[in-house]
Subunit: 176 residues, 2 copies
């Protein structure tokens, strides 16, 4: 059991979600931080103008998961979270987490987690700037093969920043 997992079990409450469940809908305020023990979560925005969903991220087993801006500022969330698989998770309320923040070790862990989030976003940024959608897809393929087993391709297309049609053609190109 990992260091995080041990600590998580001490303070967090078990919670489960079913495939398809919305863990957080648009307009709701995020009150919990989740630790995903098993499953995949999808983050997305809904663009009313274009009547289109934009998938921005996925969270896999062993990671923390929350609508960050909403949780921190306690404002209605624009970002939505959906369970892509059945999920086994642990949650902790914001006020209780706040109490833990008097412990310097916990604050340090918080900094480490934020650090990781920041570095990941930076790496993703670099991929957008340097790679073609095709290279981006191939990267995702080798980095998170589990993603492609159960998940609709349209979410992956959106995550890469292209249409489902374009992804379909890329996949065709690759096989040849």
């Amino acid at each position: 059991m990992s260091f995080f997992e041990e600590n998580v079990r001490k303070f967090f409450i078990p919670v489960q979600f079913q495939k398809g469940d919305f863990m957080l809908s648009a307009g709701k305020v995020e009150h919990f931080l989740y630790y995903i023990e098993r499953g995949i979560v999808r983050y997305f925005y809904y663009n009313t103008l274009k009547d289109k969903e934009i998938t921005t991220d996925f969270t896999f087993s062993g990671q923390f998961c929350l609508s960050y801006a909403s949780f921190v500022k306690q404002i209605p969330s624009v970002l939505q979270m959906q369970a892509l698989t059945d999920i086994k998770a642990y949650k902790i309320g914001r006020s209780q987490l706040e109490k833990l923040m008097n412990n310097i070790e916990v604050v340090k862990i918080k900094a480490v987690i934020l650090e990781k989030l920041f570095v990941e976003k930076s790496e993703r940024e670099l991929r957008f700037l340097t790679q073609t959608p095709e290279e981006n897809y191939l990267y995702l393929l080798q980095k998170e093969p589990v993603l492609l087993q159960n998940i609709p391709l349209k979410y992956i297309a959106s995550y890469i920043g292209i249409t489902p049609q374009a992804l379909s053609r890329i996949r065709k190109r690759i096989v040849l």
Copy 2:
């Protein structure tokens, strides 16, 4: 004087850079965290394969600035930093900063800064996924007008993820 500025002055050493100076070159390990009092810093990667620079970010007056991965892991930096203007800054060494991390208030500030960095990258990610290069440029125009006064457009093109030629045509379109 802001809260940050007050604290910065207590522990940081003044340092200056001239326009064009490399604050950190590729392959060097980052030993300092900088606070930029006045000036603009450009972050970029150099892609040997395509013989091309990729500008990923800018830091303006009143912000912290460092090659994050290199500083934290003490490994040679891939990311480079260059002064786009003359710069007045303050710096603190890694080991001294580490000592400050025994103070919970400092760690909390660290978390707040990382939080800000993460949210900014997330917003930039969303712009890549939802906006056209033209919209992206217009956004930058209104968000950081100072950037366009002295800075070569090719850096801005790179930051948006397009070629200088494409940016030139976008600017032409906008004026009309």
